[in-house]
């Protein structure tokens, strides 16, 4: 087996394949978690999802985190906690009520807070906040910690600094696929492309995905303030911005989806932007706008110090759904990419499902909505 890419998806695929006894080579252009998986917030969450395949997947993703935590694999790495969605004005409150109704219709446990109850439950949020909806039974995990744990547990040594430069048929004419690297051709019974933003080019689908940058801010420790939040705070504007993916971006090229995430360390992770760009720089304009909205929502943050800013690049698809499954016409070539802002949540789950596919079993999650065949395919360049 060859897995290309040691982000969370590749690492999870490697782990579940190894567990089944397959011999796996994990080939990585840079280092484990070098791309999105090491530069993300780690919401393992369904709160912002609408009913549909992504919600179903997210729920299964959360359940798997919980199970792996109990099994010991993710011991200490999965922090169970709710997501609190807040509305700061009438328009957002309306949107939130609508959204919450949809979540509730899927059987999710919600708690609503208004007025005095809201103040008591969330003492740190600003008085103008009108409505809070707490989505329970979610959690948080840090991508690079999960990646490290998965790789260590699989017993595989990552082939670092080895970029896959192309795919091609095996010499034996069996129709099987081999991967080309700077170090030579690597043949395998199965090849799984989990190369994040690098996947589409390898598959000859250059336009199937696009980069979407996100900037994030880390504060110093403030355990007391962090403990005052039951979970992460998500501004409802996030929903409105999700609604308006293309509309808003025309003007500024970026949107702000505010999430204030209290970490285990007592630090806060504050994110993030959505920018149609492919770089990991941080600009003052974006960071100061992000922080201004954070302070507006939670005024006590103002006295904390920022110790670090960073950025990551999500891999987005045209229809907002990931690309997971067998490449049509290539029985032994699989792909798993395009997770945009959900790959931490979905990574372990997708790894498990890919391993099932490789083993010829039916998957537990219905992956048909994510099938690669929905994009126009160009033939692979030999």
């Amino acid at each position: 087996m060859v897995v290309v890419g040691a982000g969370i998806v590749g690492a999870a695929t490697c782990y579940f394949l190894s567990k089944r006894g397959f011999r796996v080579r994990l080939i990585e252009a840079a280092a484990p978690a070098a791309a999105a998986s090491g530069a993300a917030d780690g919401a393992v969450s369904v709160a912002s999802k609408r009913p549909g395949p992504m919600m179903t997947a997210a729920l299964a993703g959360i359940a798997l985190y919980r199970q792996l935590e109990q099994d010991g694999l993710f011991a200490g790495l999965f922090k169970s906690r709710p997501t609190v969605m807040v509305a700061e004005n009438e328009k957002e409150a309306e949107r939130l009520v609508e959204h919450a109704a949809a979540l509730a219709s899927e059987g999710m446990g919600l708690r609503y807070f208004e007025g005095g109850a809201l103040r008591r439950h969330l003492p740190g949020v600003a008085p103008h906040v009108r409505l809070a909806v707490e989505v329970g039974e979610e959690g948080h995990a840090i991508g690079y910690e999960i990646v490290r744990r998965l790789i260590a547990a699989s017993g595989v040594t990552v082939e670092r600094g080895v970029a896959v430069t192309g795919l091609g048929p095996k010499d034996d004419g069996s129709g099987a696929t081999a991967v080309r690297t700077a170090l030579g051709v690597v043949e395998a019974d199965h090849v799984v492309i989990a190369a994040g933003g690098g996947s589409a080019a390898l598959l000859g689908l250059p336009h199937a995905t696009q980069p979407r940058k996100g900037q994030l801010v880390v504060t110093e420790r403030s355990p007391a303030l962090a403990a005052s939040l039951p979970g992460s705070l998500m501004s409802c504007r996030y929903l409105l911005s999700k609604d308006a993916i293309r509309v808003a971006s025309a003007e500024t090229g970026r949107r702000f989806g505010l999430v204030i995430d209290p970490l285990r360390t007592g630090q806060f992770l504050i994110g993030s932007t959505r920018e149609e760009r492919d770089d990991t720089g941080n600009d003052h304009d974006a960071v100061s706008r992000l922080l201004a909205s954070a302070v507006k929502l939670m005024p006590a943050l103002a006295r904390l110090r920022v110790i670090r800013v960073f950025a990551g690049v999500r891999t987005a698809t045209r229809d907002g759904l990931p690309i997971v499954g067998r490449m049509p016409g290539f029985e032994n070539l699989l792909v798993a990419t395009g997770f945009e802002g959900d790959g931490i949540c979905l990574g372990p789950l997708i790894g498990r499902e890919i391993a099932r596919m490789v083993a010829g079993e039916t998957t537990e999650l219905d992956l048909t909505p994510f099938a690669p065949g929905r994009f126009e395919l160009r033939s692979l360049v030999a």
Binding site: V295, L301, V309
Partner: protein, 441 residues
């Protein structure tokens, strides 16, 4: 669209020490519109550090004071009004320089064509078991405190390390009537006759050193050469330092304060390294090469000339004979103070030694990571190992972590742990968010 910059200028000079002031003067004389920023309440830098409000300078009228007032006159003459209490945070991805205006409580953006970084040197302090204890300070930090307050700290001081600064500090303490308990020195200049001979070429330096030694000696402070500190522990509210001499015999010394010093090195932490995207970035003075104050001033002027040439599209080379001269001085000093024996460096430190003081990460934890079958890289050492991830962001530990990595895995390529991402220093959210709030109201 980005908001317009708060400040627009031709050149931004960061650091109000000898190098920065000299650079600002030359840039101004060349007709450029210059901003000079200094993080502290007053210009001066490390060498010309000014006493804080109210305190009296230790030696007004000294050669040092005269040189400084000459530089300040030049600055005034050139018409530069420095901005004090402004901390340079770095350059953002849009090419804007960012300043944390600590008095105004907000971050200001600067659109400039050139940045001259003249942020001086920092002290090198090597980890030792127990160095994270309260009461352990740096010798240079203590010296600055004395320069600012004109007073010695309360409690007895033990000075430990390597290089001439330890003796200078002991002389300062003696002058204030509060002599140090002892100076522990890894080298032994007395046993380096050839280096001592070469010192004769620099009579000014020799005279200064002799004066310091005489003062220290007269105050009864022993100079224990060829010795090193093995551990510091806390006992009955005081620090207990274990000292090993050149023959391996050990003894213990008690003190309230242990001041460590292992030389100085350029301060390049978290700063933009080189010219990029059309923005000229030059380093000047001790932050380019730590060669002392006269070299810093000369290099500041040379850097300014280089910037002026680069901005006009000409090729440029840095030229300053004083820098070459001071490089020779430093080389002689280094051989004079070369440690008597190899103590094995960082690789010999016991596992429990703290390496990253912000997060309490130890030598043993890094070793464990480095001896895994999978050869972890810099990013994993930081992210997964949590080295250099605390409030200092590696300012105080990155070099040591790096040195230990190279010692444990000599074959691996060096992994750069330092970063040039803003903010170079922690910055208040209120200062970063301020502008946006004002806009929304």
């Amino acid at each position: 669209m980005d908001r317009p910059a708060d400040i627009v200028c031709d050149a931004l000079v960061v650091g109000g020490g000898a190098a920065g002031v000299a650079a600002a003067v030359e840039l101004c004389r060349a007709g450029l519109n210059v901003e000079l920023v200094e993080q502290r309440p007053a210009l001066g830098g490390a060498y010309y550090r000014q006493p804080a409000g109210g305190a009296t300078a230790t030696r007004p009228g000294s050669r040092r004071a005269r040189q400084w007032s000459r530089l300040l006159d030049e600055l005034r003459g050139a018409g530069v009004t420095p901005r004090e209490c402004h901390v340079f945070l770095g350059v953002d991805t849009h090419g804007l320089a960012l300043l944390d205006d600590r008095k105004g409580g907000r971050v200001r953006t600067v659109r400039t064509r050139a940045v001259i970084v003249a942020v001086g040197a920092v002290e090198r302090v090597l980890p030792r078991p127990g160095w994270q204890l309260e009461g352990v300070v740096t010798a240079g930090g203590l010296q600055m405190l004395i320069k600012e307050s004109g007073e010695a700290p309360t409690g007895s001081v033990l000075i430990v390390g390597n290089g001439p600064l330890t003796v200078a500090l002991a002389a300062d303490l003696a002058r204030l009537g509060r002599p140090a308990v002892a100076v522990i020195e890894a080298g032994d200049p007395m046993t380096r006759p050839s280096a001592a001979l070469r010192m004769a070429a620099f009579p000014g330096l020799v005279a200064e050193a002799a004066a310091d030694l005489t003062r220290m000696h007269a105050a009864g402070t022993p100079w224990l050469r060829g010795s090193r500190l093995t551990t510091i522990t806390r006992e009955d509210g005081r620090l207990l330092a274990s000292i090993e001499d050149r023959n391996g015999a050990s003894r213990q010394i008690r003190a309230d304060i242990v001041a460590l010093h292992d030389g100085i090195r350029p301060n390049h932490f978290g700063l933009p390294p080189t010219t990029r995207d059309g923005l000229v970035v030059l380093h000047a003075g001790d932050c380019r090469e730590a060669l002392g104050v006269s070299s810093a001033e000369a290099d500041g002027r040379a850097a300014a000339r280089e910037a002026v040439a680069l901005l006009s599209g000409a090729a440029a080379q840095r030229h300053a004979p004083e820098v070459t001269r001071q490089r020779r001085v430093q080389a002689v000093l280094a051989s004079l103070f070369r440690p008597i024996r190899d103590d094995g460096g960082l690789a010999a430190l016991p596992d429990e030694t703290v390496l990253c003081r912000c997060e309490g990460r130890t030598v043993g934890q890094l070793r464990a990571m480095l001896t895994e079958p999978d050869p972890v890289g810099a990013r994993e050492i930081k992210l997964n190992g949590r080295f250099g991830m605390g409030p200092c962001q590696g300012r105080f530990c990155a070099d040591n972590v790096q040195a230990l990595v190279s010692a444990v895995r000599p074959a691996s390529q060096t992994v750069p742990l330092s970063r040039d991402r803003w903010p170079a220093r922690p910055v208040l959210i209120s200062a970063l968010a301020a502008e946006e709030e004002a806009r929304e109201e």
